[in-house]
């Protein structure tokens, strides 16, 4: 893995956004060559999305030939509910950029048959040629998407019941009313994300520090599902200082020492510097 450590949330968001920007530019997507991205929701990626929107508005990138697959969606929440993940993606990314609606894919938590919906989602990913870069976050309990502790590390897209911790963490979006928080969700599986060519996990904040420690310094364990990516050939963890608080000093020093190498990945590619 590459562990990228930035000073704060804003810098981490910017690094991640530049990484995605460069991915799009170097891939050179076109009408018969779409770039597929896996995308998360939540407070962690918001800064990254803001930056991507900036790069789009500055004319640096276009999402015309980008396809996206979101990680998850609540079951039973109306699609236009302000807390649905459809609303989140619309308000924080889609409405600000030039992506085509038919190229976005978000699981439908109100589908008549949820199993069929999950299987169909997997098929859509396959039909799109697989996911080039899957971006994700990590829960305080070390989960990726809604793959709560105990989820199989080879799981696929399916219905999951949310853990108590997750419901409590989400209550703040439902006016603190626990009874209003959805209890089930549709989520890509750990196995689904593992099949992406590359995985980028954004982790910021001290409350995520223990989970990061469990995910990269302890063994692969289905209780901390992000640990599965230790066995993926191309994983990038983008963090701020606070998220590294539970790591060994040795780990942090090693990766900080590599920053001058890793920062090359986010320098503007030649096509961009020529433009500007």
């Amino acid at each position: 893995m590459k562990l990228i450590i930035l000073n704060d949330y804003d810098q981490a968001s910017e690094w991640a956004a530049k990484y995605i920007r460069n991915k799009i530019l170097l891939f050179r997507p076109g009408p018969d060559r779409y770039l597929t991205l896996g995308l998360p929701t939540g407070s962690t990626p918001m800064g990254c999305y803001k930056k991507l929107i900036e790069y789009y508005k500055m004319g640096q990138i276009s999402f015309q030939y980008v396809k996206t697959f979101n990680m998850d969606e609540y079951v039973g929440l109306p699609r236009d509910h302000p807390e649905s993940y459809h609303s989140f993606m619309w308000n924080h990314l889609f409405k600000h950029i030039d992506i085509k609606a038919e190229n976005t894919h978000i699981l439908d938590g109100n589908a008549a048959d949820l199993q069929v919906e999950c299987a169909a989602f997997e098929e859509k990913i396959t039909a799109a040629g697989g996911i080039e870069l899957f971006v994700g976050g990590i829960g305080p309990d070390g989960h990726i998407a809604f793959n709560e502790p105990g989820s199989s590390l080879v799981s696929r897209t399916r219905v999951k019941t949310l853990a108590k911790d997750t419901i409590m963490a989400n209550a703040r979006f439902f006016n603190g009313d626990l009874s209003k928080v959805p209890t089930m969700s549709l989520t890509v599986g750990v196995g689904t994300v593992m099949e992406a060519k590359e995985v980028m996990i954004i982790i910021t904040g001290a409350h995520k520090a223990f989970a990061l420690y469990k995910a990269i310094e302890e063994g692969v364990n289905h209780m901390w599902t992000v640990s599965a990516f230790q066995q993926h050939p191309q994983t990038v963890f983008v963090c701020d200082e606070d998220a590294t608080l539970e790591l060994r000093v040795k780990t942090v020093k090693y990766f900080k020492g590599m920053m001058h190498v890793h920062n090359k990945l986010v320098e503007p590619p030649p096509s961009l510097s020529k433009k500007n």
Partner: protein, 404 residues
């Protein structure tokens, strides 16, 4: 093809601040088929996008202004009986687009039955468009008003209720079709059943040109009255032991769930700014800006006709000729909005809602007018930060733009 479900063109207004949920928000505004469109639904349900983009260059987009009291303008007097009243109404409706007004209630002052019988059938409720602002219905100000508070209305045509019912109204007006509002004095004997009858027919009842005390006014509200015509003017002044009609602003007798709205002429002349602030602070959600504009609005100084009388323009003042009685205002609606914001010290949002949301709520039209909610009619006014009108739209079509 902008969508999988409809061929209709979709317009996206960008670089704008939209008045929505009582706040100015940095959001794009989407329009299709003359109505405000929910872009999220367009995206997810229809895989749709915009055909046309209008760059608003940072302007404010507010719902089009609604003027519920306007007697004429640009030389046209709605109360003058003529063979072709509708072309006069059309002329004014086209002129007021430049003030940001997209809907209005042509107002008739106290007149003899002959005038009502001739004029009313010619003024129909109709939608606005490139030809002019929409007519929501006529506002009949009089003749069932108080002699003591007639203001500029001609005394000889004032009436009282004889039978206390629909017969009085029909005799005076001829018909209530196309009537949106009636102003009357509730202290007139027999008014209660008239108020009830008008409300039953969907006509808004307003109290004005009256010497009613607070309990008489409250009783009228209980029977359905919901508006006060130009607060402070042509009514008893506020008195601390009997606040009169003005007391409705803070009355505890207004039935739950109902609001009493009140018109304010914010031209800097009809109401002292301190009085305007007292009213606004006492009851901000009821304030409705009206122009009460007369035929002389938009015309140079001089003598002009209003109803059955002659008036004289001096600067921004309009008097009954030969007196110092105010005869009406000549300040256009956008000037009233600017003056109101300045005098009341209120927010941009409050000033704009006083000219759009509140009149729509008063007339029971807030489902489709007076807001920029999804599904509402796309009647819009584009303004700069000083609230000067830059462009006006009706049903999503540009109907006026300020020349550079």
């Amino acid at each position: 093809m902008p969508s999988t479900k409809s061929e209709a063109p979709v317009t996206q207004f960008t670089q704008c601040r939209v008045l929505r949920e009582h706040r100015l928000q940095r959001e794009d505004l989407w329009v299709r088929d003359g109505r405000i469109l929910d872009p999220e639904k367009l995206f997810f349900d229809e895989q749709g996008y915009a055909d046309q983009r209008v760059d608003c260059e940072g302007s404010i987009i507010a719902p089009g202004f609604i003027d519920v009291q306007i007697n004429g303008g640009y030389g046209v007097d709605f109360s003058q009986p003529s063979e072709d009243v509708s072309s006069g109404v059309s002329f004014v409706s086209q002129k007021i687009l430049q003030h940001g007004v997209t809907s209005f209630c042509p107002t008739l002052v106290t007149s003899p039955p002959g005038v009502y019988h001739k004029v009313l059938p010619q003024v129909k409720v109709h939608d606005g468009g490139a030809q002019g602002a929409g007519v929501l219905g006529v506002h009949l100000e009089g003749p069932f008003i108080s002699a003591e508070k007639k203001g500029a209305h001609p005394e000889r045509f004032l009436r009282t209720f004889q039978s206390g019912g629909i017969e009085d109204l029909m005799e005076a007006y001829g018909s209530l079709d196309n009537v949106a509002m009636v102003t009357l004095a509730p202290e007139l004997a027999g008014s209660q059943s008239v108020v009830r009858e008008l409300c039953r027919r969907g006509v808004t009842v307003s109290l004005g040109h009256s010497v009613a005390n607070l309990s008489q006014a409250e009783e009228a509200v209980l029977h359905g009255a919901s508006f006060i015509t130009h607060l402070f003017n042509a009514m008893l002044p506020f008195h601390h032991r009997d606040p009169g009609i003005v007391g409705l602003l803070t009355s505890d007798q207004v039935p739950a769930g109902r609001t009493v709205y009140y018109g304010m002429i914010a031209d800097g002349i009809h109401t002292n700014p301190a009085a305007l602030r007292i009213a606004h602070r006492a009851h901000p959600s009821g304030l409705v800006l009206v122009t009460d504009a007369i035929a002389a609005m938009g015309l140079p100084p001089g003598r002009h006709t209003l109803g059955q009388q002659v008036i004289e323009i001096q600067g921004l003042h309009a008097y009954v000729a030969g007196t110092k009685t105010l005869s009406g205002s000549i300040a256009p609606m956008d000037m009233c909005v600017r003056h109101f914001k300045h005098a009341a010290g209120c927010s941009l949002e409050e000033a704009l809602e006083a000219a759009s949301l509140h009149p729509a709520q008063l007339l029971g039209l807030a489902e489709r007018k007076g807001t920029l909610d999804f599904g509402s009619d796309a009647d819009l006014v584009l303004l700069d930060d000083a609230l000067n009108v830059k462009a006006t739209f009706i049903s999503g079509e540009e109907v006026w733009r300020k020349s550079p």
